[in-house]
Subunit: 208 residues, 2 copies
Amino acid sequence: MPDDGATTVALDGRPLGRRGAETRQRLLNATAQLLEDNGLRELKVVDIARAVGLSPATFYQYFGDVEAAVLALSAAVGEETASLSRLLSQDWNGTNGLDCARQLVEVFIANWDSHRAVLRTRNLAAQEGDERFRAVRNAALRPLTEGIGAKVAARVDSGLAPYAAAAAMVSMLERMAAFHADLGAYGTSRADVVETTARILHHTATGL
Amino acid sequence: MPDDGATTVALDGRPLGRRGAETRQRLLNATAQLLEDNGLRELKVVDIARAVGLSPATFYQYFGDVEAAVLALSAAVGEETASLSRLLSQDWNGTNGLDCARQLVEVFIANWDSHRAVLRTRNLAAQEGDERFRAVRNAALRPLTEGIGAKVAARVDSGLAPYAAAAAMVSMLERMAAFHADLGAYGTSRADVVETTARILHHTATGL
DNA sequence: TGTACATCAGTGAACGCGCGTTCACTGATGTAC
DNA sequence: TGTACATCAGTGAACGCGCGTTCACTGATGTAC
């Protein structure tokens, strides 16, 4: 199994006990918080350690550098999207199809709202070409992309390439989730955002 | 007029001559290049100056810090999207409506391909809450959002909130443009990406 | 239940490097007459 | 066309700070018997 950052082993190879696992988690929480508050460019090992009340030396027992901590966070956050699979496994052509789409949009946006800073940093790193972040992002979005892709593929005569359409929908979702707070300024309510996004998604997936 | 970064005045207030304007541009080019090559976290004043063969002190004659240079770049890049307006001013309900959408997608993606690093950095800074970057981003995307929004508003019984739908389409475009290179790995050609994105956009804008 | 030992967990203090930034200065360019 | 002067443009060299990182060490925890 590749190291996904959720290791239970310290960097020097010895296994982590209860206390160690807790410390590691506190470091991760502080990393997320600082990322949220000060942005990526200001994220320093020293500050993370200070925030938890530890010596910087401690940080290096758990992570090789700041990026490693962010990667571990990204991997952890990515595993929260499991509930999307349930919504995607249903048939969206029936009466409650639009409802499924709506819920999916809700869950997706909620997930972003909880992990805004981590997710956008993950995406930046992926865009900058870091393969590890790319892999983590792909793993997180794969169920979504494949689920939507399968629905598009089941349409007749849509003229859409299923995988491309799925990617387009996921793109829309990610960006709306990332920027939806900005839309309020233009007189668009959150409900509008969800409803409209859900409808576009539903139509693309089903043709209805 | 607010300072959008495209100043013709040095930071100490004196006006820029021919030579000065050139130097400023060379610094901007180097900034873009380094952003592309090494990523945001590695972007240093010292390196930018070195890349152009100047003393770091010179940098400070033109920009207060690295962010200011990136902001200036963002503002400049944002002005290249003017050609989109032409495509949006046409009627998309006719026979060549889908063609317009296709071209729009093409132009948009091409613009991203030329300025990948700058645009993603602009978006990150905007997401991190920097108002100046937010303003620059909004200014760049406004014609697009309003153009699409107007088309959606002209539809009957779409059930879509025009501004939210327009934002969703712009979201889709931005993200597809940012990540389209990744899709090739999954057997999706660039042509598929353009065609599919264009169709979704066209349908959302017109109902056709 | 107590003691000894292994290993897990955390740190103080220091090092050096490199980056951001400034200032008093020199050199280049343009223009008035 | 030439010269003087104003201002634009660029720099050398230095300062200090703060960050990343390491290492030899102390303290905490768990477990075998």
